[in-house]
């Protein structure tokens, strides 16, 4: 079952998933997914554990490529109008423009500065002033600049959990990606850090397009503009968040939202 695209879709979607099937070896994980992600919106993917929401997220920057046997068997994924499985797509370029933040914060064992500058360095940026500027901008975006500007060269692993996760966000946005994928970014954090990141998400949406996987429905309500509900590898419903939560069209969605899920 596929959801209709929202009515306000005047500009073309930045990410578009069309009729996609996805398999891990012999077992199919996603069935016939259709999804459109709009520019500068926060799109949340929700659903019970194992419904394939993380897999779907990882399809967008082809992180699933590294799992042997994992492949798209039908349909296509378009980012900025380009089929990302096309042979002339350079994976490093794709990932430069589709950033990702992981469930567990994973800063490199380097200084804060080097962590943020990493993405630019690997894409060939050498100029010190450009790097300095990018670091300041990214950290400011991630609401870390004020806290950390005096110890940019301290080891990133010495930061607190919430700071580390925000550092990872800063690292991901340093290369100015069009899309920022977030895979349950708050699941390992305490409520206060979670709150900070959620606040951040609204700011980020001004500059980037955010796709977030979350198991926390309240979080989806708080941060997202659109929400997609997945169940057993199928996209059950995709709608503006308010609409989906107040007036779900599908019974399955309603059951899930009420918590009377079989």
């Amino acid at each position: 079952m596929s959801a209709d695209s929202p009515a306000i879709a005047t500009p073309p979607p930045v990410v578009q998933v069309r009729d996609m099937d996805f398999c891990y070896g012999a077992s199919q994980a996603l069935f016939d997914i259709n999804l459109k992600v709009e520019y500068h919106r926060v799109t949340a993917l929700i659903g019970p554990s194992g419904c394939g929401k993380s897999t779907l997220l990882r399809c967008v920057n082809r992180m699933n490529d590294r799992v042997t046997g994992a492949r798209v068997t039908k349909g296509e994924v378009l980012v900025k109008g380009k089929n990302i499985h096309h042979a002339d797509v350079d994976l490093t370029q794709l990932r430069k423009q589709v950033g990702m933040v992981f469930q567990k914060s994973n800063p490199f064992p380097k200084s804060i500065y080097e962590n943020v500058a990493y993405g630019l360095r690997i894409h060939g940026e050498k100029s010190k002033s450009v790097l300095d500027e990018a670091v300041e901008r990214s950290l400011t975006h991630a609401a870390l600049w004020e806290e950390l500007k005096d110890r940019l060269h301290a080891n990133a692993l010495a930061l607190s959990g919430g700071q580390q996760q925000r550092l990872c966000i800063a690292r991901a946005i340093a290369t100015l990606p069009d899309v920022l994928l977030m895979d349950e970014p708050c699941s390992a954090l305490d409520p206060i850090s979670t709150l900070k990141i959620e606040e951040l998400m609204h700011q980020l949406a001004k500059e980037f397009t955010v796709v977030i996987v979350t198991h926390n429905m309240q979080q989806a309500v708080r941060v997202s503009d659109y929400t997609a509900f997945l169940h057993l590898g199928k996209l059950v419903e995709f709608a503006p968040t308010e609409e989906l939560f107040t007036n779900p069209r599908e019974k399955l969605t309603e059951a899930y939202l009420r918590g009377t899920f079989s």
């Binding site: 794709l94 800063p107 490199f108 064992p109 692993l157």
Partner: protein, 648 residues
């Protein structure tokens, strides 16, 4: 009303009560469980105990070295050997310089006499090869001629015939080099065909070649009369000094022998007395005491004996000063320029060394003047002589020295070579295997490298002798590789050879530990880097390797530890020349032979008597080695901790 049966006093044993034995057995006041625990606990400290025991036994055998060596140095001084050495050291330098001059001369003369010499040598080689080919028949003829009574004439004729035939054939078969004109070639062949064991005179052509050479040699000599006379004067100048010095040396050696004899007797006597003190049997005690009494001998009066050396102090000094004047005079006649660049270099080298040499002599004279036979030898001197001494001389008729520097230098240079070779190879292999290799490649690379660990070191040493040495030597003779310093190499067995094999031995240690370190890099780092669009190579070199660097460094250090402690390879392959490597050869130094800390123990310990200073010196080397191994281990741990990232 049925009466309730009284509860039985002894409840029937149930399965449960039989299984659960309530009473605890006690052995020697202790619970057996505790005993078992103590048994294992005691065993677990075995590693600590062994380490302590190693140190204890090394110290027991080796710690006496400092006193023994000090005593030996004392005798060395008191007997006057040190005095002689003061004058002898600069003379040794003089011999080196004289050799350089001689070499310069031969380089100068070589072009003039070369053609005649080569012709002469080629002709003699041909003669030798003909004789060698016919040696069997020649031997038979010689044998027959020596027999008494002489064998029948016709058999002799036959033998002569055979020799003649074979010689002619051999002469015809010989290859005549183009040094000779064709006329000369045929003349030579004719004369060689005539060779017979019965004619002892050289063939006339060979004689003429010898004459030719000596004429040319004479001519060359007259041309270079300047350098020749300088050289001769230079060499003769030391004769008066050496004459005096030899007499002094003989006297000093005699004193030392007396001293050694006395101290041996004294030690023996002390043993007898000790035995007597503990002996219970009075008869035996008396016998021991009597024996001890009999072995009583007078001490050596060093003061008296040294007089005859000191008496000649002034004479020796004046001879040395005369030598200085003679030396200066000799070098006045020295021509400034030589014909070949090489000879010029040698001569100017000698010329530049002369002022230093003169200074040396003056220093020696000063030292001789101030030398006191009875100045005490400080305790730290023996320690310093061990740790900073540059000579390791044993079983010498003059004086044994136990200087540690040559061995340490050998070990250090070899270890550096080995680590420099092994580090890149094993780290590269670890990175490749861990990050890039396919599963099938992994299944080849890993077991093969693990297998290296099982190859016994003596086998690798043997490979060094039989295979690697020859390979390096052949390689060093390739003409387009001559730019490499040290090529062509002189010795098959050298530090580079040993270094290569030790590198091979260190690879498994470095490889496995580095690979572990890379394996332990958290998966999350790789995810993060990939998600930022890094290529595989970027991820590896910017994230994985930096994250694993502490493990890799500590792997390298542990590999170094293995290399320093390895014995058999260096014993077999390093060349075993006890001398400080000549670092003036630049990088070519690696192709010199050397001896090592481990090698010297393995080679010499089997041949020395227990308790001698040599034995103790070898144990001292062992103590140093033990210390080095502990230090390397400590560093490896420290490095692993220092670079370890903070845990998230």
């Amino acid at each position: 009303m049925a009466s309730v049966p009284p509860p039985p006093n002894d409840p029937p044993p149930t399965l449960g009560s039989r299984l659960l034995r309530k009473e605890r057995r006690v052995v020697a006041g202790l619970d057996p469980q505790q005993l078992i625990k103590y048994f294992f606990g005691a065993n677990s400290s075995i590693a600590i105990i062994v380490l302590v025991l190693i140190m204890a036994f090394l110290l027991r055998e080796g710690a006496g070295f400092l006193t023994t060596y000090r005593h030996e140095l004392e005798v060395y001084r008191q007997a006057g050997l040190e005095f002689c050495d003061l004058a002898d050291r600069p003379l040794q330098h003089q011999r080196v310089l004289a050799n350089a001059l001689r070499r310069a001369l031969s380089i100068e003369m070589d072009p003039l006499t070369k053609s005649a010499r080569e012709r002469r040598d080629a002709a003699f080689l041909l003669k030798a090869s003909v004789e060698e080919k016919t040696s069997a028949s020649r031997a038979d003829l010689e044998h027959a001629l020596e027999q008494t009574p002489p064998p029948a004439a016709d058999s002799l004729v036959h033998l002569r015939e055979v020799v003649k035939q074979k010689t002619t054939a051999a002469a015809a078969a010989a290859e005549y080099p183009d040094l000779f004109t064709s006329a000369e070639k045929s003349r030579l062949q004719n004369e060689l065909s005539e060779l017979s064991p019965e004619v002892s005179d050289l063939p006339p052509f060979l004689q003429s070649l010898i004459a030719e050479y000596s004429t040319q040699d004479q001519a060359a000599r007259s041309k270079f009369a300047g350098i020749i006379s300088t050289g001769e004067l230079f060499e003769e100048a030391t004769d008066p000094v050496v004459e005096v010095l030899d007499e002094l040396k003989a006297h000093a050696t005699e004193t030392k022998e007396q001293a050694t004899e006395y101290f041996t007797l004294k030690a023996g006597r002390q043993q007898l007395l000790d035995a007597a003190a503990t002996a219970t049997d009075p008869e035996r005690k008396a016998a021991l005491l009597a024996e001890a009494e009999a072995s009583q001998s007078d001490g050596v009066n060093f003061g008296e004996r040294i007089e005859s050396i000191l008496m000649r102090r002034e004479e020796l000094i004046s001879k040395l000063q005369e030598y200085c004047t003679a030396l200066e005079a000799a070098f006045k006649e020295m021509p400034e320029q030589s014909t070949t660049a090489e000879a010029t270099a040698l001569v100017s080298e000698v010329r530049h060394a002369i002022p230093g040499h003169l200074g040396e002599i003056h220093q020696a004279v000063e030292n001789l003047k101030n030398w006191k036979w009875d100045a005490p030898v400080a305790f730290y001197r023996s320690l310093g002589a061990f740790f900073f001494g540059t000579e390791w001389i044993t079983n010498s008729s003059w004086q044994d020295f136990f200087g540690f520097v040559p061995l340490l230098a050998g070990s250090v240079v070899i270890s550096i070579i080995a680590v420099l070779i092994a580090t890149p190879v094993s780290v590269v292999a670890a990175i490749y295997t861990n990050q890039f290799a396919s599963d099938r490649e992994k299944e080849i690379i890993k077991p093969v490298i693990e297998f290296i660990q099982a190859i016994p070191s003596v086998v690798l040493g043997f490979i060094g002798i039989s295979l690697v040495g020859n390979l390096i030597k052949d390689f060093s003779e390739i003409s387009w590789l001559q730019w490499i310093p040290g090529f062509p190499i002189q010795e098959r067995l050298n530090m580079f050879n040993a270094g290569c094999l030790l590198a091979f031995m260190a690879v498994p240690t470095m490889f496995s530990l580095s690979e572990d370190a890379l394996n332990n890099v958290p998966r999350a780092y790789i995810d993060a880097s990939d998600a930022l669009g890094a290529t595989k190579l970027q991820t590896v070199f910017r994230v994985i390797v930096p994250a694993g660097i502490s493990g890799i460094l500590s792997a390298i250090l542990l590999g170094l530890g293995r290399v320093v402690g390895e014995t058999m390879v260096v014993l077999l392959v390093a060349g075993n020349r006890i001398a400080v490597p000549d670092f003036s050869a630049g990088l070519g130094v690696v192709f010199q032979p050397a001896h090592t800390l481990t090698g010297i123990i393995a080679q010499e310990l089997g041949e020395v008597s227990r308790g001698s200073s040599h034995w103790q010196a070898l144990f001292m080397v062992g103590i140093v080695l033990f210390g080095i191994s502990l230090l390397v281990n400590w560093c490896a741990r420290a490095v692993a901790r220092r670079f370890e990232p903070h845990k998230a």
